[in-house]
Symmetry: C2
């Protein structure tokens, strides 16, 4: 059904556009510059900025002289006008952050997720930790805009529930949003982890300079977030981005817990695989099967360090993993016709020193026939906190981002 | 860069929304219904409809009595207010259509693409054929909105050129748009074939009832068009939709002309493969290597007919091809989080009687872990003319479709 629009819809949209433009100008911006960048009239800019000043969203930040005439007054964001809480629920670890409107981390905390803990115990721990972080931050509760949870997909965004998260035994169909909302008295939103990571890129990472890109998460499993025109395409149910179960052409002894195959991409792109291959190659790393993820990461990092020191077998492992990453990246880049790919995730953190250049070469070689142009692959600058930051940014995005869909009559 | 909007941008958008709503109401629609469906005020609807009546885009179409009060006057589209020409350039055949605003075919023509013909000779033939079709249609040239060419990707949409079309020897870097525009004196646009096919679905096919779906083209090769909120996501350069070169897990003697592998999806989803497998299974079909596509299609159809008659080996071939199609569809559905898939294309026309149900089952079984919900697979109703219709619809879409991006200040 096609919906029209009217004058009443314009104001909110333009205010969001102006606030977003001020937010992105880290050194302040003048009203003249805002008019130029948004296309809005000086009168509209003046009115909107006055409203934002009154609401304490922005503040004046000195003047600059540019050419003859009156010096221009700069306005800048009040970055902690509101803060947002993010939680990343991972199969092995819980990560919490509080960020300001620029996505700067104000408080952070990380705790292992005990396999023995029931979902209820974990929810109780989340409530306690969020309250502790807010207290530690010194912000009043009314300045906390909400809590965003990043969790393994598929997720039921509307129902606020996990569905069937791989590796999170006992968490099928567990409701997160309603219990947390009730216990915390705050707005709570749920997003798939890869969608949250892409939202973090848009809000505080690669999105500072790119409007169209793919964010690829390489951790235990691989997933993607498509960013178009500065917005994350989350899909009809918020579960877009699955690409781990294309065939890799490489059979491993491990079985994929999601698709049940021995040759999908996800089962190859795995800490376990690095460690096993490293051990098979005679590298002295411990057997980590059944151990916490942190030990898998440590052992895999050790194998990659051997590769960096010139160990041939370890280099071969790194090379193969890079080929698998390039397969994932190449597929999504050619399917979606994007030429900028930003990779993040714990496995990529281990691999990136070795693989960044290799992946770019691989893609542009192996997908030449299907890519309209070369793909540029870079690594995310957001590190291990990306999905938690993304959870917080999902809440900010929901409240503040200008959305053309918001222009249409309901 | 974030752009604002103003009152001046509203009028054109609302008019496009109203025209689109009238276009979609095949039995006419009243002003009251238009106000309800678009959210616009009765006054706005009244003004816009008057403008559309004045411009002869719509006409009054009788009255209906619904409840007490004045009978409601219906308005309906003038479907041939403008007509559009579509050309599908395929490695073996040239297809032409003229369609009206509803996408109904008014004239059509199909001619083999002689392998020996140079691009220049083919361009000359296109000009002659378009002129002949327009003459045959009886429409004045000023009522022809333009010509849309659907061609194998990657295409250079902006430059109006093919890039490196597989199977079209001698067509690398050939310009189509400029020469045709000059020779015909008409607006000419170029689109990738799968994007055009998806646009046809939006304009006259599955888009009549679905706003979000994936259109999958299964011909010589496989490609997709993503439809979101009633618009085709063509990608940054108009080349979105490549998915033929994921690995299939099945090695064939043929080599993929695009990726050079023997085990990608595209090289498995192929008329050649059906025919070879049929012959290996002892089915009496001719060797068609090197023969025109029409003979490949005929031979493959024969193999599928044997399958329908209970031939075990032929059924096995059909079953495997269905599995390959479901791999393609499952990947794109899980990556993009859509649950409606509409399949079209010449190979699918041969397969569909056999494969439609199988594909649905396969996907919902093999992608259970990555799909948030079951996928519904249907076959396109647009048949073999879909890409040519799509070419024509790309021109209509460009001129007439309401686009929220058009609301933003330039």
């Amino acid at each position: 059904m096609q919906r029209g629009t009217n004058l009443g819809r314009l104001g909110g949209y333009n205010q969001a556009v102006v606030l977003e433009s001020i937010r992105r100008a880290s050194d302040g911006v003048s009203r003249v510059e805002l008019a130029a960048s948004t296309g809005l009239s000086p009168q509209t800019i003046s009115n909107v900025v006055r409203r934002l000043l009154d609401g304490q969203w922005v503040r004046e930040a000195g003047t600059v002289i540019s050419g003859p005439g009156k010096p221009r007054t700069l306005v800048e964001l009040v970055p902690d006008r509101l803060v947002s809480v993010g939680i990343h629920l991972d199969p092995s670890v819980l990560t919490y952050v509080i960020v300001d409107l620029r996505g700067n981390i104000l408080e952070r905390h990380r705790a292992p997720l005990p396999g023995a803990a029931s979902p209820q115990e974990t929810l109780d721990a989340m409530v306690a930790e969020v309250n502790a972080l807010i207290a530690a931050s010194g912000y009043q509760r009314e300045n906390v805009v909400g809590v965003g949870i990043a969790a393994p997909g598929p997720v039921d965004v509307e129902g606020g529930r996990l569905v069937q998260p791989p590796l999170l035994t006992g968490w099928n169909e567990v409701a997160l949003v309603e219990p947390l909302r009730e216990a915390l008295g705050l707005e709570v939103l749920l997003a798939k982890d890869t969608v949250a990571a892409a939202t973090a890129e848009v809000w505080v990472g690669a999105g500072q300079t790119l409007a169209d890109f793919v964010s690829v998460y390489v951790g235990t499993g691989v997933g993607a977030g498509l960013v178009l025109g500065g917005s994350v395409l989350a899909g009809q149910t918020g579960n877009a981005g699955e690409l781990g179960h294309v065939l890799s052409g490489s059979v491993v002894p491990e079985v994929c817990s999601v698709c049940g195959r021995h040759d999908c991409l996800a089962v190859n792109l795995n800490f376990d695989t690095i460690v096993r291959r490293g051990r098979e190659a005679g590298i002295d790393v411990p057997d980590v099967s059944g151990r916490p993820l942190s030990e898998h990461i440590a052992a895999a990092t050790q194998v990659m360090a051997e590769a960096a020191h010139g160990n041939v077998a370890a280099s071969e492992v790194a090379r193969e993993l890079a080929a698998h990453v390039s397969l994932a990246v190449g597929h999504i880049a050619s399917l979606l016709d994007v030429d900028q790919v930003v990779i993040c995730g714990p496995l990529w953190e281990v691999l990136r020193g070795f693989a960044e250049g290799t992946v770019t070469e691989h893609i542009n070689l192996n997908f030449r026939g299907t890519l309209p142009r070369d793909v540029v692959v870079t690594s995310s600058e957001l590190g291990g906190w990306i999905a938690a930051i993304g959870g917080a940014c999902v809440v900010l995005e929901d409240l503040l981002a200008p959305k053309t869909s918001g222009l249409l009559l309901r």
